[in-house]
Amino acid sequence: MKPTWKVKLWRYTIIGIVGFYLLLPLYSMMDFSTKPFAFFQKGRTLDAWKVIPSQPDLAIAVFRSLITAVIVMFLILVLIVPTVVWVHLKLPKLKRLVELICLIPLAIPAIVIVVGIAPLYRWISINITESPISLSLVYSMLILPYTYRALSAALDAADIHTLAEAARTLGASTTRMMAGVIMPTLRTGILNGSFIAIALVLGEFTISNLLNYKTFQVVIAQIGRTSGNVAVAVSLASILFVLILLLAIPQKKRQKEVLDVDVA
C-alpha cells in the first residue's frame, strides 16, 4: 500500500521535530568547539581541536580505556561465553540461576554497585594495583545482561546440541568442541558484545569517578573545568569515533542484536 500524503506529512513532521531535538546539541557542540577562545575575536578557529593531543592525561586515559575494553572482552570470552554455553549444553538445571545472576546489573544501578564495591576496590588499590585497568573486573559485570541476552538468543537459534554431538562423534575433545565448533557459531553475538564493551568502557563515569580513577570520562570532566571548548571538542570526537566504529561493523548481522537491548 502506498502511503498517503497524510501519513507522509505526519512522518516528516515527527522526524523533523525529534530529529531537530537530537541534532541540535550535536550541532551546537561543533559550533561551540570552533568558537575562538577570546570574546573579542570573530570567526572560526580549530584551536580547541588542535590542542586535543596535548591535553594532559587524555591520551593515556584513551589508551587505558582501550586496554580495559580488551580485558573486558577477554573476560567475556573466557568466562561468560563458555559458562553460558556449558550451562545450555550440560547443566540445564542451572540455566535459570545463571540467567538471574546475569540480569542482576539491571536491577542494581551502577551508583549502588559502587557503594557495595568501594571497599573491595580500596583493598585492590592498596594491595594489588592502583591502575584504572582494574576496573575491567567490575565493568565485565555491568555488561553481563547484554552479553547474556545476545548469547542466549544465538544459542537458541543455533542447534548447539546437534553440533556438540556431531563434534563428539567425530572425536573432538571438549575444548576443541567449544573453541572450534560452538564459539564460531556465536561469532555475531560475541562481536556485538565487544562493541558494547568498548562503548561501556569509553562512556563509564559513575563508578570510576566515585572510586577516584582517571578514566576517559573523568578526564573529559576535568578538562571541562578549565576549558569548555576543548572538552566539547573531545566529546564530539569520541561520539564520532563510536559512531564510525558502529557503522564499520557489518550492518546486517549486527543490527538485530544491538536492537535486542530488551531484557527478561
Binding site: W86, P109, I111, I113, G116, Q217, G224, A231, L246
Partner: protein, 305 residues
C-alpha cells in the same frame, strides 16, 4: 527451543567416563563463573542490602533508615528522582515511539533507517559528561541557542541558562538519551506488526483511524508501557549527567549517594549511602518486576500468534 539434552555419547575413554562422574565434573565448569560474579557482583549487592540494616558496629539496627526516612532533604531528593524519571519516561516514550513509527513507515532497511538506528544506539549510551557539555554548548552561557535569544529576546528564559538546573531543565536533558533508547526498544515491536492486519482492516472498510483505534493501539500498548518502564529505570539510575551538570548534592537520590560515598572515603561509615541505595534498589526491582510481567504477556501473545 531445543529441549533434548546432550549427555555425551558413549564412553570411548573407558572407566573415567562413567556417567556419574561426567555429571559431577560438569559442575566444575561453572565454578569460575560463580566465584567471579560472587566477588564482583553478588557480594557487593548483598553488602549494600544488608548493610542498610546495620549500624557502625555491624549490629542489626534500623536507626539509619529511620533517620533518613524522617529527613525532609532525603525525601525531597527521592521525590525529585521519581518525578524526573516519570516525566522523562513519558516524554521519551511518546517522542521515541512516534519516531520509531515514522522510521518504519518509511523504508525499513533503507539507508536513512540504518543510519538512524546506528545513531540511536550511540546516543542511547550518551548520558553523562558528554551530554552535559552538549547541552551547555546549546543552552549554557554563550551557547548556540542562548546567544541567539540574548539578541532576539533577552528577557526570555532561554537567554539564560539557569532553567537547565531545574527539574524540568534536567528532564529536557535526560530526554535526549531516553528518545534513542525508546527507538531501539520499540522498533522491533512496530516492525512485528503485520501489513496484513492493515489490509484486512482496509478491505473490511475500516478507516485508518479505526485501524489504529481497534488494532494498532491495542497491539502496541503493552510493549509501549513496558518500554516506558525501562526508560523510567534508565532515568532513575542515571548519575553521571546530573553529577556533572547540577552539582547540587541534595537534588536527586543518586547524587546524595555519590556525596555520602565520596565524603566518607577513608572512614568506614557508608551507612547513609547503603540505606539510600536500598531505597533505589527497591524502586528499581518493583519497576523491573512489572516490566517482566508485561514482557511475559507480550511474548506469550507473540508466540501464540
Amino acid at each position: 527451543m531445543a529441549s533434548t539434552q546432550y549427555q555425551g555419547t558413549g564412553t570411548t575413554t573407558g572407566g573415567a567416563g562413567s556417567r556419574y562422574w561426567r555429571k559431577r565434573s560438569a559442575y566444575l565448569g561453572v565454578v569460575p563463573f560463580f566465584i567471579f560474579t560472587g566477588i564482583f557482583l553478588i557480594y557487593p549487592t548483598y553488602s549494600v542490602i544488608t548493610g542498610a540494616f546495620r549500624n557502625e558496629a555491624g549490629e542489626f539496627d534500623t536507626a539509619k533508615i529511620d533517620e533518613l526516612l524522617a529527613s525532609p532533604i532525603v525525601r525531597k531528593a527521592f521525590y525529585n528522582s521519581l518525578e524526573i524519571s516519570f516525566k522523562t519516561a513519558v516524554l521519551g516514550a511518546i517522542l521515541g515511539g512516534l519516531f520509531a513509527w515514522a522510521l518504519v513507515s518509511g523504508k525499513p532497511g533503507g539507508r536513512f533507517y540504518k543510519i538512524t538506528v546506528a545513531i540511536s544506539s550511540v546516543l542511547a549510551q550518551f548520558g553523562g559528561v558528554m551530554l552535559t557539555f552538549a547541552f551547555l554548548a546549546t543552552f549554557g552561557f554563550n551557547g548556540v541557542v542562548s546567544s541567539i535569544f540574548v539578541k532576539l529576546a533577552p528577557d526570555s528564559f532561554l537567554a539564560q541558562s539557569s532553567w537547565l538546573y531545574t527539574i524540568n531543565g534536567l528532564a529536557v536533558v535526560y530526554t535526549f538519551f531516553q528518545i534513542p533508547l525508546m527507538v531501539l526498544v520499540f522498533l522491533p515491536t512496530i516492525e512485528n506488526m503485520k501489513p496484513q492486519w492493515r489490509e484486512a482492516s482496509d478491505s473490511l472498510g475500516g478507516s485508518p483511524l479505526e485501524y489504529w483505534r481497534s488494532v494498532g493501539i491495542p497491539v502496541l500498548t503493552p510493549s509501549f508501557f513496558g518500554a516506558m518502564l525501562l526508560l523510567f529505570v534508565n532515568s532513575f539510575s542515571a548519575y553521571a549527567t546530573a553529577a556533572t551538570l547540577v552539582n547540587l548534592s541534595d537534588f536527586l537520590t543518586p547524587l546524595q549517594i555519590g556525596n555520602a560515598l565520596s565524603s566518607e572515603v577513608g572512614n568506614a561509615n557508608p551507612q547513609t549511602a547503603k540505606a539510600l541505595s536500598l531505597a533505589m534498589v527497591i524502586v528499581v526491582i518493583i519497576v523491573m518486576a512489572l516490566y517482566a510481567q508485561i514482557r511475559r504477556r507480550v511474548s506469550r501473545w507473540e508466540s501464540a500468534r
